[in-house]
Symmetry: C2
Subunit: 691 residues, 2 copies
């Protein structure tokens, strides 16, 4: 599964910096839309996309704040993404009486379309290169920490100017280790209504075992409709549905938002990943899965409450276990080492380059050494409570907005406040039982790993028993009510300071501890930016400019062909069919997670079982690409990315076109399912343009 909200996003070190690597494999690359791989497409496929072709694909693509991608598939704002991207919204709209996650949902008429509590959809409408402004702001500043601060201030100013001028969501993003900075302007939509979702079991057939593998048999799709001013959005920027769907050997494109990659990491950074990040996160995730599973075993309602959480945790866990395996794989590590050695030697061979860039690797290695204990602290200082997170956001928000924009913590810059407030005021329900469960578990792990005297832990529990303190906090707080949050938000610093809500009180105590660690990590990390810039510049000089930047949850274009790969001593097929769904279910005696849904049982004889269901391509993707459209040369939608194969888990570090595959739902399989399993003919007609 490929949702972007993996834990690595919580780690500053993972997003601050990249290194450098030589020759690109055919079909490797997550290209920005300002620098599409035109040369490669011309040389390998004799394909020459026009600017209009590229613009249409970009404007038809969307990013979802739940951590995935999507695309418009009708002129009336119909938006296609994965079931597992829509999962959070399905969970939030569900109750003990209506479990939309388990049972699916279909609005056969517009009035039945169901509003999402806190989903935001972004379309990338503008891109401007602001490298000169951002880099210029810190040009004369020698101290890395001060330079970082100056760049942050400039970034905040650019974002605010753009937001004020255009009303668009405006993010300055960094590419090529700070070699380039771009202002990305997004049209944001927050009235997004659910139209269709299959049952979780149909979308996620095979469950955790089959997750991140192929062959697969999943109908991992969901359809929303984007509204504007209370009416369905009318747009020309939507993808036409392909009549044939993805065909073996065909050239395809993937337009989506890969979350993060570490392909440019130096060996020192990979070592931090291997020795600190992956083991710590794996231990944390394993603990949390165990706690959630024990809770789920208590009964069906408990299982419902944590089902979505377990899904996400197991998904992340499989990612980290895959990364651990990749970093233990000698062929991968020796390739990375050889790449770095080659790069170093080429730099060293030129005295000027050596003088200008030669110290970068050592700088990074020195920073990494200092960062390692801080990273461990960051991983294990968690409250894992939505109420605590809201409390801390309220405390910090009220303090930050009083400061000049350039001096605020990054997540409170003026340009982002609208989206932040939308999240903070979400009406999505909060469940006390799971709040207590996860908060207590997180704090206990914090105590185990960082000691009973850890400052963060003690700021919350103040010497008290963890279970009792957590119970008192969750039972005592009123923050589950969005109106209470709204009052505090509007009341500002005085209201927050005066609040006696126990969770706010605890957050006020934790705030300085959180800020201190954050500052510590940022200060320690700050030399990584100039060092990374050096490597970025050196790489351009050594290897030329045919490069793509590491993924940063910004819109990217990948390309590839629909094709199988060697696996299990034989070959995996380019696509699977509905036959395979029924085979795998029967092969496991229909036992979970390989059980058929009642609709799949009832609909079997209606289906053309040979219809393609899922398929693989060589397109280069990673977590965050979930929900990305797959299109053909004509820009028609032929598939819907939902996962990578098990071999793709090494893709964080290295792309191997012989076996790294993107897994997608086939367009024909979606139509077949909509019509034959769900009787959603009106929806299928709209998608196919037959309305």
């Amino acid at each position: 599964m490929f949702a972007a909200k993996s834990c690595s996003h919580l780690l500053l070190s993972a997003s601050l910096l990249m290194g450098a690597a030589p020759a690109i494999h055919a079909e490797e690359g997550m290209w920005t839309f300002d620098n599409p791989p035109l040369k490669q497409l011309a040389a390998q496929y004799n394909f020459h996309p026009t600017q209009a072709w590229l613009d249409h694909l970009r404007l038809s693509s969307v990013r979802l704040n739940d951590g995935g991608s999507g695309s418009f598939v009708s002129p009336d704002g119909l938006l296609l993404t994965n079931h597992h991207v829509a999962r959070g919204q399905l969970q939030k709209n569900s109750t003990a009486e209506h479990d939309y996650l388990r049972d699916g949902f279909y609005a056969s008429t517009p009035d039945q379309e169901m509003k999402s509590p806190d989903l935001e959809v972004n379309v990338l409408v503008g891109m401007q290169n602001v490298t000169a402004r951002v880099q210029g702001a810190a040009k004369e500043i020698a101290d890395p920490a001060k330079a970082l601060k100056a760049r942050d201030a400039e970034i905040a100013a650019i974002e605010k100017e753009s937001k004020d001028k255009t009303g668009l969501r405006s993010d300055v993003v960094s590419f090529y280790q700070g070699g380039e900075y771009w202002l990305y302007q997004y049209k944001a939509y927050t009235d997004v209504r659910l139209v269709f979702a299959p049952e979780q079991q149909a979308a996620f057939f095979g469950g955790d075992p089959d997750n991140f593998t192929y062959p697969r048999y999943d109908l991992d799709m969901a359809l929303f409709r984007v509204y504007e001013n209370g009416k369905p959005l009318h747009t020309d920027n939507y993808l036409k549905w392909s009549a044939k769907g993805a065909a073996p050997g065909e050239l395809i494109f993937i337009s989506g938002h890969p979350g993060s990659t570490s392909r440019q990491y130096t060996m020192a950074q990979l070592q931090t990943e291997r020795d600190i990040v992956e083991p710590a996160l794996t231990e944390y995730l394993q603990r949390r899965v165990a706690v959630a599973q024990a809770f789920a075993a208590q009964g069906p309602e408990q299982a419902r409450l944590v089902g979505s959480t377990i899904f996400g945790l197991q998904n992340s866990l499989k990612v980290y276990l895959g990364r651990i395996e990749a970093l233990a794989d000698k062929s991968i590590v020796s390739k990375k080492q050889a790449d770095e050695d080659d790069f170093k030697q080429r730099v060293a061979a030129n005295p000027e380059w050596q003088k200008e860039f030669g110290d970068a690797w050592q700088t990074i290695a020195g920073v990494e050494e200092k960062l390692q204990p801080e990273i461990k602290t960051q991983v294990f200082r968690r409250a894992d409570s939505r109420l605590f997170t809201l409390a801390l956001q309220l405390v910090q928000y009220s303090a930050e907005v009083k400061k000049p924009d350039g001096e605020r913590l990054p997540q409170f810059h003026e340009a982002g406040l609208e989206s932040l407030r939308y999240q903070m005021l979400s009406p999505a329900p909060v469940y006390p039982a799971t709040e207590k469960l996860f908060m207590a578990s997180a704090l206990k792990l914090n105590a185990e790993k960082l000691g009973n005297n850890d400052a963060f832990l003690q700021a919350i529990v103040q010497g008290g028993d963890i279970d009792k303190t957590v119970a008192a906090l969750v039972d005592g707080t009123k923050l589950a009510d969005p109106a209470v949050r709204k009052a505090l938000l509007e009341g500002g610093a005085d209201a927050v300071a005066a609040s006696t809500d126990p969770m706010i009180v605890a957050a006020r105590r934790a705030d300085p501890v959180v800020r201190a660690l954050s500052k510590q990590v940022r200060d320690l990390s700050s030399p990584l930016v100039p060092a990374g810039q050096k490597l970025g510049k050196a790489r351009f000089l050594v290897y030329g400019k045919d490069a793509y930047p590491d993924a940063t949850f910004t819109l990217r274009l990948s390309y590839g062909t629909v094709t199988g790969y060697p696996y299990n001593g034989t070959v995996a097929p380019p696509f699977t069919t509905y036959y395979g769904l029924y085979d795998r279910a029967a092969s496991f005696s229909n036992k979970p997670p390989f059980d058929l849904t009642p609709k799949e049982v009832a609909g079997r004889d209606k289906l053309d079982l040979s219809t393609p269901l899922d398929f693989v391509s060589t397109g280069d993707i990673i977590g965050g690409n979930s929900g990305s459209p797959v299109v053909n040369r004509d820009g028609e939608l032929v598939g819907l990315i939902f996962d990578g194969n098990i071999e793709s888990l090494a893709g964080d570090f290295v792309y191997d076109g012989t076996k790294n595959r993107a897994v997608a739902v086939h367009s024909s399989g979606m139509i077949e399912g909509l019509r034959k399993l769900y009787g959603a003919n009106a929806l299928a007609d709209e998608i196919e343009g037959k309305k």
Copy 2:
């Protein structure tokens, strides 16, 4: 695929000796019927088979001289084995007009049952421990080569005595590195008629890519009927058909003839395998596959002629590539090394043991070093011609039978002559085109690898051009006619010596060269027997007597459970269904080797697609087990072994119960196929006891 005729059988070193290893995994083991794993079955499964249960299973099991196993499945001599074991006979009965290999065969009435040209079926009816006699014969002889000769003579005497007394085929076989010798007495049947075979494509769906993998969707079965005195054999020793078939989690037994394993090899012997045997055989096989494929590309009749050969070669090639991978796998090699180190240390810790056994490893290592060049010579000295093989057999036969039994080459001992003559007089057709193709290719590789002056090569070509010489030999010989062979066989040494048949003349020249290499290898290898016996004795002392001997194409009992295993990042199911066959075919757009047969297309709607087709179990098997029956606690047939998964290729050296799996056709899948695809209801009724 698991047929025993892999090339390793041609290598003396592979069958002469084994080493030692400690602790046995649960469900590991290919147990002789005199020493079944009763303790393990009692402890793990609370199952206590009676002697009658064991005897019935043994007497219902058969060995086929084509290199596989089988079982009786009706009181009227119906014999179940794999299609790929029957393949040779199908090929030999086929013509350009009737391609039974491609099209399958079904005798709906007894008179249509089709005689096999040279198939022999053996049932193990008697076992006697003759260790004392064989070892005693060489007790006073210090020189290893002379001791070997003395034992060989004693073995020949025991075999002849038994054959004279009982009329049974009588083989003395060695177990536990010569720690035990047993006389195995077989009832032999040579009137074996084909009753049913599916199309090659139904039996071998997925072809070479899917070979040695799982999940699989193959109906790899064939049915013969054994006749005695011109009438169907009536027997009480047949396996009843299970009504339910193999169920997940169920305890099962496999009774068959694993060909050879190297689990007791010392590290020095494994090194010979890794550095000499596997690379040389792989190169030889790759060359031969390429030659055969180029020939097949010339037309459909050419493709028919070499189809069966390509099948066998690719099968062997995949085995050797798997072994190479296993011996390059650090976890496997370090496990083997750790086992040997542990064994050595335990021996060394006891001064008496050290004195008696401690030199064995070094002796073996010394022999291996000397043997390596000879092994390479053996691999590349090949004629790959059936006519040349027959000629050499006639030349050697006429010379050997004049000697006392104990002094003959092992393959000409009195007790084995009847079976040998049956083979030599086979009426199976010989095709000049493929004779020339493979003989020329083999001799050219011989020249490349061993030099143009190699004695074997020059004995055949005498300085001439290889292609021309081979053409002249094949065109000039009359040995394709069984009557010509019969006349030479009956004419004896004088007739053979007087023959001017060019192939006989060439074989007469090659005979001394072949004998010299064979003697050289046997002499060099002879210290391996006493050294192996030392290790065998030492292992019993160090690790106790709960052991099974390496495989030697003798009847063995394995046991295990029907269960999936971790694969491809997820889990493989315990069984597959007919749904999966149609999925995999559609997934590859019905392109070979994933194409459906016309009967599979036509019969689709008649099938219950959820019927189990193939399944896996933890039973310990290897090449030669092909066609072995799988039975349940009640001794009922629940499946038919036809392959191992890709992980099982390491099984030559080590058994890993977490992922080593035996692949079988499911009994229900066979009945479903017979009835719904082939309309063979009478046959299905006979099998199910409904007649």
